[in-house]
């Protein structure tokens, strides 16, 4: 987390730097031909690169051109050639300007600084120690914009199938069809855990992770909070939701409030149930740890996006003997929850939880739909592994065809 925090500006500066450099290098290049002309014996001038081919990048906003050229014969890994300059001009427009430079050995470049529906020509100049040799002019090219990205049609098809199956089963359930859903231990325990807190007269702590609303795990956590606070309202127990983002606080309050209304006890709701602490990762952890040891909650829910703090929170909760139900979709943190908590929702279970707890048929339907997705994935894995293996063993046309098809089907471009 803190990593990203200070690296973002770095990248912003980098972009600015890039622009500055382009200009700078541009001026360098402007003089270079002059040097190239003084072609005395002691100045080595590398042989120019071969034909430059420019093609429009498909399925984009018309803002990019693909370039490809043959390396200069002198670019043979020896250090005679240090790189290539990419130059561009608008047909019928000004003369060649430097776009960017690439290292020696590179034979392709994507120019993303072009404008839609303008016609350009390119030239690639090889760069020796103190001389450059420009290539022939490239074909002229006019980048244009497509309205549909057919490069993603496989994503579209499979997406349609899986999303379709989810929606189908939701609709199916609406018509009153009942599905069997296996028991998920962590979620079965929720009622009991809340009941325990009620008996002991101790509060419940609900930590919705440390990321903002722009992370699905936080949203999943809130949907679960909705179910939990509903039960809490019925049991009339105290619930604390410390959060590390203001937006999450607002959303959490909205969620709890409506659950209390649904339970018919809006009077019992108070805004203090969800309180913002601080955005700082470990500052938040310090505060929550303090809360744990002071208020001694009987039950802790740690659901959402967690990083290094996962174990710090789980261990503290464990030390006060609270029942802990944890869940996250971050594989790196799951082991710590498994080690220190009573129940852990592993990845997918976190997102399924709210549907499971709701008990509504249509929500259950969506889970059934998910399983279809899993089935599809499994079938493709088995089929794919077998066919690719056979295809390579005895290169039988049909298997090669199938395995290639599967690969094309699941390769995601972009």
């Amino acid at each position: 987390m803190d990593d990203q925090l200070y690296r973002q500006p770095v990248f912003r500066v980098f972009q600015i730097f890039l622009i500055i450099f382009t200009v700078l290098a541009g001026s360098i290049f402007a003089q270079d031909p002059a040097i190239g002309l003084t072609d005395s014996a002691d100045v080595f001038v590398p042989a120019p690169p071969g034909a430059v081919k420019a093609t429009d990048v498909v399925y984009d906003q018309g803002g990019a051109v693909d370039l490809e050229w043959e390396l200069s014969p002198d670019d043979d890994g020896s250090l005679k050639v240090s790189g290539y300059y990419i130059c561009r001009r608008e047909v019928g427009g000004e003369d060649y300007r430097l776009v960017d430079s690439v290292m020696a050995g590179v034979r392709t470049f994507v120019d993303e600084t072009v404008e839609q529906d303008h016609t350009y020509q390119y030239m690639v100049a090889v760069n020796g120690d103190c001389s450059t040799a420009p290539s022939e002019e490239s074909n002229s090219i006019t980048p244009d914009m497509e309205w549909l990205n057919f490069g993603l049609s496989n994503l579209f098809i499979i997406g349609l199938v899986i999303c379709g199956s989810v929606i189908y089963f939701i609709a199916h359930a609406k018509r009153g069809k009942k599905f069997f859903i296996r028991k998920i231990a962590g979620l079965e325990a929720v009622d009991e855990a809340i009941g325990r807190a009620t008996e002991m007269g101790r509060p419940i702590l609900f930590v919705p992770g440390i990321l903002d609303m722009d992370d699905v795990q936080t949203i999943a956590a809130l949907t679960i909070l909705g179910r939990v606070s509903r039960v809490v309202a019925d049991y009339d127990t105290k619930i604390n939701v410390p959060v590390s983002r203001s937006l999450v606080m607002t959303a959490a309050r909205e969620t709890i409030k409506s659950s209390y209304m649904a339970a018919g006890r809006p009077d019992a709701y108070s805004d203090d149930m969800a309180a913002y602490i601080t955005d700082e990762q470990f500052g938040y952890v310090a505060a929550v740890d303090g809360m744990m040891v002071r208020e001694k909650p009987a039950t802790c829910f740690l659901l959402g996006a967690f990083f290094a703090e996962s174990l710090i929170l789980a261990e503290t909760g464990n030390s006060i003997g609270a029942i802990q139900i944890a869940g996250t979709a971050r594989p790196a943190q799951l082991p710590f929850f498994v080690a220190a908590c009573d129940f852990t929702l592993i990845g997918e279970e976190l997102f399924a939880a709210s549907a499971y707890l709701s008990g509504e048929p249509k929500q259950m339907g969506s889970l059934k739909g998910q399983d279809v997705g899993k089935a599809i994935a499994m079938v493709f894995i088995v089929l794919g592994v077998i066919t690719t293996t056979l295809a390579q063993a005895w290169d039988i046309g049909v298997f090669t065809w199938i395995s290639d098809l599967l690969h094309d089907l699941f390769q995601v471009t972009s």
Partner: protein, 224 residues
């Protein structure tokens, strides 16, 4: 009705973003929404920060338990706000970046926040130890497997791993703990990771659909 509008917004925006992926002209939509989000987040802070002040002020006025510490929090909060907003003690003045080298704001960060957060982070070392002590028990088959895998990796990353199995002939070098550790890392470990990731993918897809279709609406209130 108020809530119907909200649900419609979710439906519309959600669908729009899904569709936009397949329509190049709408590519930039994502960035736009991220920008909006950042802006909204700052506005929301007025609620969060306001709440922070409210909570501690009430604690103070009601002389609740530990009210003294509320003073500390309040002072710290306001001082930083003032320093940061008016860029006090910043060599570059109001024009400079708030975190400019040598600015009071940056000094505060280096001398107060850095030690605090790095120490909090370092507590992990203790908790890792106590957790392994308690949790790594061969309670049942699952726990045993976890224990063994963890133990091998653990040893594999220390000199002892090498010492323990240095006698193993190189023909069976895979059985030397460090190699064993590496092998676990990129075979079984990989498989587990993938299964979990695919599962998560499906979970997210199905939850997003529920939300976009307005079936999952707890976050907006369950008005029955």
């Amino acid at each position: 009705m108020k809530r119907q509008v909200a649900l419609l917004i979710t439906l519309f925006i959600g669908t729009l973003l899904v569709v936009s992926v397949f329509i190049p002209p709408m590519e930039s939509l994502k960035e736009t929404f991220t920008l909006f989000f950042d802006i909204i987040a700052v506005f929301a802070f007025f609620l969060g920060g306001g709440n922070l002040l409210r909570v501690h002020l009430t604690k103070l006025s009601k002389r609740k338990q530990d009210w003294v510490y509320s003073i500390v929090t309040l002072v710290g909060f306001t001082v930083v706000l003032v320093i940061g907003l008016f860029k006090l003690g910043n060599p570059g003045g109001i024009a400079a970046s708030p975190t400019a080298e040598g600015s009071l704001f940056q000094t505060l960060f280096d001398n107060v926040l850095v030690p605090l957060s790095s120490t909090m982070y370092a507590l992990l070392a203790f908790f890792v130890a106590s957790a392994s002590y308690r949790a790594f028990r061969a309670k049942n088959r699952e726990a045993t497997i976890l224990l063994i895998a963890a133990f091998i990796i653990l040893l594999g990353r220390t000199p002892f791993g090498m010492m323990l199995t240095s006698w193993v002939p190189n023909s069976l070098s895979i059985l030397q703990i460090p190699n064993l550790a590496i092998w676990i890392m990129n075979s079984a470990n990989l498989a587990g990771q993938r299964a979990i990731m695919i599962g998560i993918g499906l979970g997210v897809v199905s939850m997003s659909i529920r939300i976009i279709l307005g079936i999952e609406r707890t976050y907006l209130g369950e008005e029955k």
